[in-house]
């Protein structure tokens, strides 16, 4: 009887957005009289940071700092339709809608600035800090604050825009299954290292090294939040979680957090996260959806590592000590 070590690898991809498309999202953007910008949506922030990311996307597109943008979302009396927050679609779908709306608003903003500066709108650029400059002659500039005031009170222009993003729905061909499930895919590869106690069947995940390719990390700290939390959930799925421990038997289902098991703060694997960025052709600033796929590769990586450690395959999730011990017993000569 011994503690045995093993490691396993898994590589995966994951589609961004609702399977087969057909899932629209809209956004509206408008400026206040003093050049702050409102983004109006009906998308839902589940904790992944939807509001913050939409603010950064709008700010980048308009050309203002993020703190000049306020996101008002998830009120059906004010926000235009969004299909919902699921299927790694929030950033991709809503982000594209916000870009379209923000571009339209930016165009009006530049037109008003052009009138104030007596130049062509196409000769203007933003400095990202709240000013509009004449290209090549940055001393000729106007603040967005002043442009918004002019638009409202002098020129009667609405600095606003509408955005709608829809990937047309794909219908699978009946016989061949020809279809377009998604327009872009995120990728991952995970190496997990485990210790298995072959006396108790207990598995300890020592390390996980996760490489994720997510298009673009729009806010790297928030991407890290998702990826670290997802990696934890993947390990949790691999080793602990089920509402029906003896499926298909319906008995013994957990009803509280003492019975439904997940790793606690004392059970964490040493977790390394590396992010690659291959911008997607149709993603907002190249982004893909990282939220779901980040919890997938750890499960098979841990399963493969368990085999590497003790030489038994557990092909049924979760990989419990009971299953490992039964497999070891079945494998043992008499």
């Amino acid at each position: 009887m011994a503690i045995r070590r093993g490691r396993g690898v898994a590589a995966i991809n994951y589609p961004t957005g609702m399977n087969l498309g057909g899932d629209p999202t809209q956004a509206l953007v408008h400026s206040t009289p003093t050049g702050n910008f409102m983004v109006t949506l009906s998308s839902v922030d589940l904790g992944q940071g939807m509001k913050q990311i939409m603010a950064q996307i709008c700010a980048e597109t308009i050309g203002v700092p993020t703190d000049r943008v306020v996101v008002d979302t998830a009120d059906t009396d004010t926000g235009p339709h969004c299909m919902g927050t699921f299927a790694s679609r929030g950033t991709h779908r809503a982000g594209n809608a916000v870009i379209q709306a923000a571009r339209e608003a930016r165009q009006v903003m530049l037109e008003v600035a052009a009138e104030e500066l007596e130049v062509n709108a196409s000769d203007l650029e933003t400095d990202g800090e709240g000013n509009i400059l004449v290209k090549g002659a940055p001393q000729r500039s106007i603040s967005i604050f002043d442009v918004a005031l002019s638009a409202h009170f002098k020129r009667g222009r609405s600095i606003s825009g509408r955005g709608m993003f829809l990937i047309p729905r794909s219908y699978p061909e009946k016989e061949t299954g020809a279809m377009k499930p998604s327009t872009c895919y995120a990728h991952a590869c995970t190496v997990a290292e485990v210790e298995v106690d072959d006396e108790t069947g207990e598995v300890t995940v020592l390390t996980v090294k996760n490489v994720f390719e997510i298009g673009r990390a729009l806010n790297p700290k928030m991407v890290e939040q998702q990826l670290v939390g997802g990696s934890w959930m993947g390990i949790s799925h691999a080793l602990y979680e089920t509402t029906e421990p003896y499926y298909p038997n319906r008995d013994h289902g957990g009803t509280d957090f003492n019975q439904y098991l997940m790793p606690g703060p004392g059970d964490l694997a040493q977790t390394e996260i590396i992010v690659l960025e291959r911008p997607s052709a149709d993603g907002p600033y190249g982004a893909k959806g990282p939220g779901e796929m980040c919890a997938n590769p750890q499960i098979p990586a841990v399963a493969n590592a368990v085999f590497d450690a003790v030489g038994v395959r557990i092909d049924t999730l979760p990989i419990t000590p009971e299953r490992i011990l039964r497999a070891l017993k079945a494998q043992a000569p008499n």
Binding site: G47, V228, M233, D256, F257, N258, G264, P265, L268, T271
Partner: protein, 160 residues
């Protein structure tokens, strides 16, 4: 049903209410007094989202009867910042990106505060132990552990 009087301090302010006997402190705080910072995640004492501090000790407000709190000093996360200045733990949670959905955060901060009040220079193991009654489904815990360790370090630096 006859009402029962309860009187305690909440974040230093006197509170007095008439409640139904058997009302939990969680319900009294949220529904009667209007402090919704403790969250009801399970109402069975297994998630820690309702964690508060009573007379310096960590308590689950969903398992504490309000009528047992007469004369006590109750602290919640909503009372931590003073004069608009965040408590070092709140600051550390922000800086470490230790919140995602935020539902577990007030309970986590309460649990961490009790730890740091008793153990100003905790080890990682101390932090893990202190947070072990609080469930988080988003973060994978590591950023929260780091936030608590950071807060402890900044407290001891400020004390010097």
């Amino acid at each position: 049903m006859a009402k029962v009087p309860v009187q305690f301090t909440l974040n230093g302010a006197e509170k007095a209410e008439f409640i139904d006997s058997g009302t939990t402190l969680l319900h009294a705080l949220r529904d009667k007094i209007g402090d919704t910072s403790p969250k009801g995640g399970c109402h069975q004492g297994t998630c820690g989202a309702c964690t508060v501090i009573i007379d310096g000790e960590l308590r689950l407000s969903c398992l504490t009867l309000a009528e047992t709190c007469n004369g006590a000093a109750v602290t919640t996360t909503s009372g931590l910042s003073e004069g608009g200045v965040l408590h070092s733990l709140q600051r550390a949670f922000l800086d470490a990106f230790a919140t995602q959905c935020g539902f577990c955060t007030p309970g986590m901060i309460m649990a961490a505060k009790v730890l740091l009040d008793h153990t100003p220079n905790p080890s990682r193991e101390d932090v893990v132990e202190a947070l072990s009654g609080n469930i988080c489904r988003c973060t994978g815990y590591e950023p929260i552990i780091q936030a608590v360790l950071t807060a402890a370090r900044s407290n001891s630096q400020n004390a010097v």
